[in-house]
Each structure stands twice: as C-alpha cells, then as structure tokens.
C-alpha cells in the first residue's frame, strides 16, 4: 500500500473510525493509528477493506478498554465522558451535538456501534455484520431499535406516527 493510498484512507475514514473506537475506549486515536499500521504491514490488502478496518478498530478498542479497566478504573469513566463526539453543528435547526452525543452514550454498546458504523462510517449492514461478526438482519434490527431509543431520548417525533 502506497503512501498516497494510505493518506487518502486516513483523510476519509479516520474521523469516523475514531468516533467508532470512542464507544469503548478513551484512547481512540491510538487504536485507529494501530489499525492503520496493521493495514500497512499486510502484504496483500484485505478484500473488504472498510469492514476489515472497522473490525480491527473494534477489537483494538475493546482490548484497550479492558487493559485500561485493569489499570485504572477511572479511565473507563473518562471514556464515557469523552470531550466531544461531534463537531458543533452549523445548522441551528439541526440536532444539538451535545444532546445527540449524550443520547448515543445511553444506548447499549452493541446497538450504538451499529448506529455509529452505519450513520457516520457509511458501512452497509452487510459490512457491519462482517465487522462485528454477526448477521446483517441482526444488525438491522439493532439499528432500528437504536433509532427508536434515540428518538425517545431526544424527544423527536416518530416519522411513522406522524404519517398515521
């Protein structure tokens, strides 16, 4: 893998990968960097590059979270109180970034990781299934359930109920 290709991957996916890794650990940048380095060391790049990256980041973040929990219990609390998940929105009519982050933080992690990977990582449910080791149908069910929970937390109106 050439440096231009790696730079393009970093520019395109680093932010979403860091947000994805932040669901578990307090050092997401280190986890993402390690994933990119692991990608560089591969002689042949994986067939499905994006699911592979998300799976590596997920495993690395979970391992880092376990190690941090063993070392210092306060680091896991620091991970939940992450400084910023989203950049402040320029649209005043849009969702508040802090409220959205707080609502996301209250979701179970197995639902939250699917929402993050789908909405901000751009992965399809098949790719998410490859990354988390599950089926696409299960990922979609969790995604739909997570949206309902977020809607409840944020006080948004359900689009289906609006129609009916």
């Amino acid at each position: 893998m050439g440096p231009e290709q790696l730079g393009d991957l970093v520019d395109r996916y680093a932010a979403a990968l860091v947000l994805y890794a932040r669901q578990w650990c307090a050092c997401p940048e280190d986890v993402v960097q390690t994933a990119f380095l692991k990608l560089v060391r591969l002689r042949t790049p994986p067939d499905n590059l994006l699911p592979w990256l998300y799976r590596v980041v997920r495993n690395g973040a979970i391992d880092a979270s376990r190690a941090a929990r063993r070392r210092h219990k306060y680091e896991s609390a620091a991970a939940t109180a992450a400084p910023r998940w989203f950049a402040p929105s320029d649209d005043p009519t849009g969702l508040d970034a802090r409220s959205a982050a707080e609502a996301l933080a209250e979701l179970p992690v197995e639902i939250r990781e699917i929402i993050v990977a789908h909405l901000w990582g751009g992965l399809t449910f098949e790719q998410i299934a490859q990354a988390v080791g599950s089926s696409a149908a299960t990922c979609y069910r969790r995604y739909a359930a997570g949206l309902e929970l977020l809607r409840h937390h944020l006080g948004a109106v359900c689009p289906t109920s609006r129609k009916t």
Partner: protein
C-alpha cells in the same frame, strides 16, 4: 408503513429516509486528533521489509569462514598432568645426584660399630694448626662423605681390636732396641 421488514432473517433492504437518521448523519464526527505526519512516518517504518544487503551477506560469509578455519586448524591441546608428590621423595636441587655406593661397602650399623670401636678423639683437631696434614685429610674425607655418602669410607684393616683412625697418617714404626741374641741359639 414501517421500515422494518417482515422477515428479519433475510438481508434487510436499504432503510428509508428517516428524519432522525438524516439529522444524526448531518452531525460531523469531531476531527480526529491523529498526528498525520507521525502516522505516515510510522507507516513508512512499519512497511520496511527485512532486506539482506550485500555487506550483511559478506560479513556473515566471512564470519562463517573464519569460524570454520579456526575449527579446522585448531592446535592440539596440551594436557598438564599434576603428579602428586611422593612422601619420601627428596626435594629437587641443582646438584646432580650421585649413584648410591655398592651395598657391600656400606658399613655395619653405627650402634654396633660404636660398641665395638671407640670413636677417634676429634676434639684435639680444632686446636691443631690449619696446615696440619691430619686436619687437611680429615676435612677432605668429611667433604667426600658429605658429598657421596658413607660408602667412601675405607674398610677397617683388622677385625676386632681397635685400629688407628682412617684419617690419621700412618706413622712409621718406632725404632726399638736392637734385638738381643738369645741364649738358646748358642
């Protein structure tokens, strides 16, 4: 109508435009605090493949040849044997050893000799002048005995009675009175 498909075991269709999902997707993730330059540098270092250069091969070959040559022409080892010193062995000296005298010339035990023969009176030798022939001979014999042992001592001339000291100069017989003619020869 809900977006959730009826058969959840099949791969789901693409979700419809959910306003909440669209609003969430509009939020941009916080920019990653990755140091891009550091990442690229680390990636370059990580992508370095192990390369066996010419100087590495040459150095390895020469080292192997040197080791093989050293093993081939290794000198024979010298074995040092530590001999335990014997109990009655005399200490080595620079003086060459003199072969022991013949056993037949070894005199009898000193106690028997002392019992049978009185020791010569040597006390008077110290008072004699240095040029005295008896003193010179005694010293010569003493040196020979110290150097070669008692086997050099001469035999006693007679059996039983006392004899003159071996170092004493044989004295000529004293002239006695002239023999008197016997009466019975007449």
């Amino acid at each position: 109508m809900s977006d959730v498909p009826q058969d959840l075991n099949r791969p789901p269709p693409a979700p419809g435009p959910d306003p909440l999902a669209a609003a969430l997707a509009d939020l941009q993730p916080a920019p990653a605090e990755l140091n891009r330059d550091r990442l690229m540098f680390a990636a370059g270092a990580a992508s370095q493949r192990p390369v066996a250069r010419l100087w590495m091969l040459t150095a390895g070959f020469l080292a192997a040849m040197g080791f093989a040559a050293g093993m081939y022409v290794r000198p024979s080892t010298v074995v040092y044997v530590e001999r335990p010193p014997s109990a009655g062995a005399p200490a080595r000296s620079a003086v060459p050893e003199v072969p022991p005298p013949a056993p037949e010339r070894v005199p009898a035990r000193s106690e028997e000799r002392e019992r049978s023969e009185p020791l010569p009176d040597l006390r008077g030798l110290s008072q004699r002048p240095p040029g005295d022939p008896d003193v010179a001979r005694w010293l010569r014999v003493r040196n020979d005995v110290l150097a070669a042992g008692l086997g050099l001592l001469p035999d006693r001339g007679s059996r039983g009675g006392p004899s003159a000291p071996y170092y004493a100069t044989p004295t000529p017989p004293k002239p006695g009175p002239p023999p008197q003619p016997r009466d019975d020869q007449e």
